[in-house]
Subunit: 334 residues, 2 copies
Amino acid sequence: MTDFQAILDGNRLALSRLLTQVENDSPESRAALVELFPHTGKAHLIGVTGSPGTGKSSLVNQLALHYRKLENKRVAVVAVDPSSPFTGGAVLGDRVRMRDLAGDPGVFIRSMATRGSLGGLAQSTANVVRVFDAAGYDIVIIETVGAGQSEVDIARLAHTTLVVEAPGLGDDIQAIKAGILEIADILVVNKADRPGVEMTEKALKSMLELAHPVQRRFKHHGTYMDVPVYETQPQTQVWIPLIQRTISTDGAGIPELVQSIGRHVAYLTQSGDWTLRERTRLEVELDGLIREELVARFRRNVPVEQYESVLEKIVQRKMSPGEAVKLLMDGRFK
Amino acid sequence: MTDFQAILDGNRLALSRLLTQVENDSPESRAALVELFPHTGKAHLIGVTGSPGTGKSSLVNQLALHYRKLENKRVAVVAVDPSSPFTGGAVLGDRVRMRDLAGDPGVFIRSMATRGSLGGLAQSTANVVRVFDAAGYDIVIIETVGAGQSEVDIARLAHTTLVVEAPGLGDDIQAIKAGILEIADILVVNKADRPGVEMTEKALKSMLELAHPVQRRFKHHGTYMDVPVYETQPQTQVWIPLIQRTISTDGAGIPELVQSIGRHVAYLTQSGDWTLRERTRLEVELDGLIREELVARFRRNVPVEQYESVLEKIVQRKMSPGEAVKLLMDGRFK
């Protein structure tokens, strides 16, 4: 039994316990999420993504410090590390952060690592974010390593997405990250005291010009079930991604970055995009849960022996996968 | 109506037509895939993945030339480009290749670009590969840009996976690709005439040592439905990924690479891994098709108005996503 009132009151121990349950997707946590849901929708969700080596974690640290100390906001950081066990970056990152932020009741840092599929990680990150939202954190920063589709999925959670770059990471990095650029609301050139900062900024500018902002926004909000919400939305205003220099080791550029984030919030509110992003996010989540539940029901309803025998026929090329699906599904969904 | 016999006989025009239908997922192509399925399972599928700048495409070109001219094999190349519209790499690649291989009836090159979701691309790539297999191509090379989960999915199609590196791409590239390394059967250090080749090779070796080969193999074969096939499989033999230097511009190292690929085929056959990979591949495909069909049936059965009204309640925080799923699914799957 979860003590909802304790969480709504900001009790850290109760919060910490619930977060663990949510990560483990326990039945208690599912019930708790239902109870907490009406209290969500107030936090500003900021996604921060970027390759290893961009100084992303210390940037997040600086952002959290700024919001906490200069704007008196309550800040939660969710650090998501979908990479392989090689790096172990998340744990180390926490320790470094602790020095600056430990003991402050208005700051909560949580690391999450991949356990099952990346899809599962996106869902449990969404739930963890929701708990922080209900618990009254004003800002929730979601930090991910920029490495592909998973980041795009997780970025969809955020109202404002920061993509972090740094000088001297090579041309190939740029090419890989073309897809990641498309989700950026603000491009941060961190480590701006390093040589090559002008070149990096120039490269980003020319990529932005290529990206055709209007089309970009449509793609950003594209959802799985293809509900044509945009047709009814007038596209009166377009957000052109800002480029911002920072040096996260000494905090230079952080006040300007916070100001840009504020401008983005103002844009989101005025254009109606805030509501649109909320809706899209909830729709993507609903679709994911529907898929999960459909598969769970399928597994409960199709005997393992039948599934195995059909698979065996496919392996022996006696039945095609398409035929097998028809056979397995026959009459099971009305 | 597809002319199956023409395809089995190796008619290029009929083949080309069917490939287009398969890419468009037309009803005719679905029927054709059922008909062709019993004729598949003979080709050796070789996956080649690597970042832009590694010279991957010309390496594939050289491999195809070698198999064709020195071993008299029929070779198909499927070049998959899941990147954003910025690069346009696939089309350019084809043109360069044409000079060497055009007009040879024993070679067929096909480029595929992302149209819908990456999941859809993996499925249509699987189908295109299957058509080449049925049409009697001995070797099917599947080439992808190494940029994340999609490559892992597509690599699952292959019996043998080559990961291509090149000197001078920087440390950060290495970090990003930790996950990609785990799928490599052979690591190719291309552009081996460039400075820094020893360092790249050394970095790869130390990463391989970190990767714990036994654990790696278990992960490699892990499937979605969690059927514990491994428990019954004795793990008598382990493949340690080979590292191979090549210079694709002049073909140096290609005969040695082909030899290593041959050793991998021998290993797969002797260890039983060939059968295991086939089975895993077909199982992953079956699971994907089941998911797709479940969602399609759900969409047909749940009125759009009901879905929209439930989503609206979620947006207004009057119903949680979890509750919404229960409501939408109620009684619909027996």
